[in-house]
């Protein structure tokens, strides 16, 4: 029988379904593993309330543990503490950038959003700071859509929340 840390290590390898270059651990979705009475409980937290990837992540967790003899597997969604982009590691932010997604800029909650300021972002393709926001809402709930005015490429920005 595997212990909690060993199960956690296995689950740490699961890629995020939307952004496969980083794992659910890198993103801060994977919270903890508890073994109670020989059964395994996994706690995950959604990035956004309606993130459609959560069901898929739950299935991936069950699949990863299917042949590991860990008893019954229960995946619980937890909302507290609230997920924040602060949990994304520096290493994972670099992976995002290389993948073409501008990583969240600041380590605090996005206050500019209420007073209408769009932030200055570096284009993940060419590095130019001459970029502008197209929409606060992008291809997934966690991203906004920007474009680079120099290389003309559109790109996703991982919103700070």
């Amino acid at each position: 029988m595997l212990n909690e840390q060993q199960i956690y290590d296995i689950l740490s390898e699961i890629p995020d379904p939307e952004i496969p270059v980083i794992t659910i651990k890198d993103l801060g979705i994977l919270q903890r593993v508890e073994i109670k009475d020989g059964n395994c409980e996994v706690f995950i937290t959604p990035t956004y309330s309606g993130c459609p990837a959560m069901k898929l992540i739950e299935d991936q967790i069950k699949e990863a543990l299917a042949d590991k003899q860990v008893g019954t597997i229960k995946v619980n969604l937890v909302y507290s503490p609230t997920w924040t982009t602060d949990w994304i590691s520096e290493e994972a932010k670099e992976k995002l950038r290389k993948y073409g997604i501008a990583p969240p800029l600041h380590s605090t909650v996005d206050k500019g959003v209420l007073i209408g300021k769009a932030k200055v972002l570096k284009c993940p393709q060419c590095g130019s700071q001459n970029t502008e926001m197209i929409s606060q809402f992008g291809s997934t709930a966690c991203k906004a859509l920007y474009k680079c005015l120099d290389c003309k490429e559109p790109f996703d920005y991982f919103k700070c929340i």
Partner: protein, 252 residues
């Protein structure tokens, strides 16, 4: 009414509001005026339906009668729904949807910031998550209210008419009943009477900047707290509940 009954009723009210407005916004999918706005409105729909999922799941746990969140969403008739009337209104034109979204997002911000301090840990956790998302919804509807209000004569007149028409549905958001009295006493929810001033301030600031008039309070609609709804809710449920009712317990 026991505390458990009140908490069930209150959580249902929050969940139903999110579910029905989320469904209305989802109707914009593939019909938005611009691709970006289409995506924005369906993103907001997703946030709301996700919030509804969490709240209805909690309601089902509080009720503890073996019903699931899906049973609550798909197997109740309209008289058992507790969503406010404003959530049920048809989308109208883009301006009407924006007016409704501004009013509801400002209300949600005022409400959910308070609920994030709730003594009920589950409600507080869901609310803290919702606050982060609602800020984006409010930003989106503020931006568009400014553009349409301070835009062309046509856009100005149409969004002004939207605010005028929808205003009679705003007072109902703040109505309280026996359920609220218990929630306030238990420290689970805020007193809705204390939310109104801040909500009005947010709306007034946006409308004035958008060169629009804040409609005067006149006759106000009511009914949802008692399960008496607009004629639209039945049609929404007919669509929303069709599949689970036609094919009970169908799995994807």
């Amino acid at each position: 009414m026991t505390k458990q009954e009140a908490l069930f009723n209150y959580t249902l009210r929050l969940g139903d509001n999110a579910l029905i407005l989320g469904h209305r916004l989802s109707e914009w999918s593939s019909k938005g005026p611009l691709l970006e706005e289409d995506i924005a409105m369906t993103n907001m729909a997703l946030d709301l339906i996700g919030r509804a999922d969490a709240l209805l799941r909690y309601a089902s746990q509080v009720e503890a009668k073996g019903r699931t969140e899906d049973d609550l969403a798909y197997k109740r008739g309209e008289r058992q729904f507790l969503c406010n009337l404003i959530m049920q209104l048809p989308n109208g034109d883009f301006g009407f949807t924006i007016a409704r979204q501004l009013i509801v997002s400002a209300f949600d911000l005022c409400l959910y910031e308070e609920l994030a301090q709730s003594k009920d840990e589950t409600i507080a956790g869901i609310a803290a998550k919702a606050v982060k998302e609602v800020k984006y919804h409010l930003k989106f509807s503020t931006d568009w209210t400014l553009r349409l209000g301070d835009g062309t004569e046509e856009s100005h007149n149409r969004i002004q008419k939207s605010f005028d028409d929808i205003w009679m549905f705003t007072a109902e958001l703040f109505e309280t009943n026996e359920v609220d009295a218990i929630m306030v006493k238990e420290g689970i929810a805020p007193d809705y009477n204390n939310l109104k001033a801040r909500w009005k301030k947010i709306i007034t600031e946006v409308l004035l900047e958008a060169t629009l008039k804040v409609p005067a309070d006149a006759y106000m609609q009511t009914g949802s707290r008692k399960g008496v709804h607009t004629e639209y809710l039945g049609y929404i449920l007919a669509e929303l509940q069709y599949l689970p009712r036609a094919y009970p317990d169908a799995k994807w």
